[in-house]
């Protein structure tokens, strides 16, 4: 049976709906000996900022039941080095790549987007939701407020015609409100979810297990939350959703697609099995053949339920 796996995210046509999530796959080179990156639907880079960032104090990772807490703190080489040392490899890929960017002001976001557009980048993911850095002193991250979400997305959309994906935080009261404001500001798609803020303590030393005290939870533990967020947002906006959060296998991925995701991102699973994304892709194909689904787009949002008022 011929199946159509292609999906459209903004102006990007992806050959299949499987992406690797930002921060879990470096800049591609790190995994090139372990997996055929070109078979992916798209590849999202580790977040870059205008200036290099050292990142947070170690320890940066703690394993928790069915998950990991991380507080990397957006360690990255900065825009200049990224363009010089990381981008040339990304341009050799025969699959789409998305550059994840973060700034401390909306102007920094648009400056990053503009300069990367000049360098031939085709799509951005706005990381306005990292739980491990202080974007603005004492304030919430951009995606925890509908107005500042709108402001950042609008500013970037003014400066570029390219595809803009906005990555949102689940650490909010009403995710639909934030998603709607990103859509209104012109975001082409949504990445859901960034990690869930958490912490862990060493009871012998009475010290937090992370150097930065709190961190973002990812892995199978967060999947039900991520799935609920995707479903809620799917019912509130029209733009495509890239669903992510604890996807470990094809079954998980298909749950996200049924709940409203047009594409899915594999994150923590890459650490455990670098081939997870491609195994998930082949699992999705098998499911489609078995259930005679010719077009993956038909599966998106096919959840059978009595719509509860959200």
């Amino acid at each position: 049976m011929e199946i159509d796996l292609s999906v459209k995210i903004g102006k990007l046509i992806l050959k299949n709906p499987v992406l690797v999530a930002s921060g879990t796959f470096g800049y591609g080179k790190e995994y090139k000996d372990l997996i055929g990156i070109n078979k992916l639907g798209a590849f999202v880079t580790k977040t870059i900022t205008l200036k290099p960032r050292e990142g947070n104090l170690p320890p940066r990772i703690v394993e928790t039941p069915s998950g990991i807490l991380n507080s990397i703190g957006l360690e990255n080489c900065g825009l200049e080095v990224f363009i010089k040392e990381k981008l040339p490899f990304l341009k050799t890929l025969k699959t789409a790549f998305v550059v994840s960017i973060a700034g401390y002001t909306k102007e920094e976001f648009s400056k990053l987007a503009k300069q990367l557009e000049d360098e031939g980048v085709k799509a951005f993911e706005l990381n306005i939701s990292c739980p491990n850095i202080e974007y603005r002193k004492g304030k919430l991250n951009f995606s925890q407020d509908a107005k500042s979400t709108y402001a950042v997305v609008k500013e970037v959309k003014k400066s570029t015609k390219l595809t803009v994906i906005t990555k949102l935080s689940p650490n909010v009261t009403d995710i639909s409100e934030i998603a709607k404001s990103a859509e209104e500001a012109g975001s082409d798609a949504m990445s859901l979810i960034n990690t869930i803020l958490g912490m862990a303590v060493d009871i012998d030393t009475k010290k937090p297990l992370l150097g930065n005290i709190t961190g973002g939870l990812s892995g199978p533990a967060v999947k039900p939350v991520a799935l609920r967020v995707v479903w809620e947002v799917y019912n509130s906006v029209k733009i495509p959703i890239i669903g992510m959060g604890g996807i470990m296998d094809a079954n998980d991925a298909i749950e996200f697609i049924i709940s409203g995701a047009s594409a899915i991102g594999i994150g923590t699973a890459n650490f455990i099995n670098p081939k997870a994304s491609l195994e998930i892709l082949s699992g999705i194909k098998k499911y489609m053949v078995k259930n005679e689904i010719k077009d993956i787009k038909k599966l998106t949002g096919s959840l059978k339920c009595q719509k509860k008022s959200l």
């Binding site: 921060g23 879990t24 796959f25 470096g26 790190e30 995994y31 000996d33 372990l34 997996i35 580790k46 050292e54 990142g55 104090l57 170690p58 320890p59 940066r60 990772i61 703690v62 394993e63 039941p65 069915s66 998950g67 990991i68 991380n70 990397i72 360690e75 892995g219 199978p220 470990m248 923590t268 890459n270 650490f271 455990i272 099995n273 670098p274 081939k275």
Partner: protein, 267 residues
């Protein structure tokens, strides 16, 4: 590095909570360097979630096998200890940078290996290489200092001896060899030999490595330490296993696990 399913040849309980795993591989023995590690999926499900890193303990290029020495500490190593000969393990390796031992300095007089507890694991592989190399140079056989709380916890004494190393033991309770910490033994050894041109290679608990580093600095000798951190990806992608160094944060999995001791900002 490669991701492969490798067959277990044997998985022996040595003593206490220590095990030795022998694995068949036609890739890792050919390319592994002492100090490098392999990243193993210990369980068949998501508990525990992450892989576990293990130093390569010994390598046989003739038999296409390598060994890891491990201690059962938690769920991951617990699962690993239940694996049997014939089972397959999901392994990524070899990973990281190993010890720098390819010195061309023929004046080097003494090589001291300092192992605390499980720290013997990567040092046996290093000793294998050092002894092998010394057939072609004037290097002396390595001096190996092994420390543990008590006699029963001393690892690999006979293996190092078989290689022809000079082995000295330190136990905290004095049940075997020198009474005290292995770092005290190191101090004593360095005060008796002409240590100016020697190199110290150390692996063990963090406080021990910190102390070894201090001693090496005092004697102004080259010292390389193998550090441990929680490692998620193992390939330098997640940036989770950072350690503070004079050159900023570095990754245990990619820049290490072996570092020059004077590079580390000890906490």
């Amino acid at each position: 590095m490669k991701l492969c399913k490798s067959r277990i040849i044997s998985n022996h309980h040595i003593k206490n909570s220590y095990y030795e795993l022998s694995i068949s591989s036609d890739y890792i023995p050919r390319f592994a360097k002492p100090g490098q590690f392999v990243h193993i999926k210990c369980s068949d499900n998501n508990t525990p979630l992450l892989r576990r890193p293990f130093s390569i303990h010994s390598v046989s290029k003739e038999k296409n096998t390598f060994k890891i020495l491990y201690e059962v500490l938690g769920k991951g190593t617990g699962f690993l200890s239940k694996k049997k000969a014939g089972d397959f393990l999901d392994i990524i390796g070899p990973l990281g940078n190993g010890f720098d031992f390819q010195t061309t300095d023929d004046r080097r007089q003494t090589t001291v290996l300092v192992a605390g507890g499980m720290g013997t694991a990567p040092l046996l592989f290093l000793a294998e290489k050092l002894v092998h190399n010394s057939q072609f140079t004037v290097h002396r056989k390595p001096l190996v200092l092994i420390g543990a709380k008590t006699k029963n916890l001393i690892l690999c004494k006979d293996e190092f001896k078989k290689l022809g190393c000079d082995v000295k033991i330190a136990t905290e309770d004095g049940s075997l060899g020198f009474k005290g910490k292995v770092t005290d033994l190191l101090k004593e050894v360095l005060s008796t030999v002409n240590c100016q041109l020697s190199t110290v290679y150390a692996c063990g608990p963090y406080p021990m490595l910190k102390e070894v580093s201090k001693i090496a600095k005092k004697h102004r000798i080259n010292c390389q330490v193998s550090l441990e951190e929680i490692i998620a990806c193992g390939v330098g992608a997640c940036l989770g296993c950072a350690v503070s160094t004079k050159g900023g944060f570095k990754l245990v999995c990619k820049d290490g696990p072996v570092f020059n001791s004077d590079e580390i900002i000890w906490r």
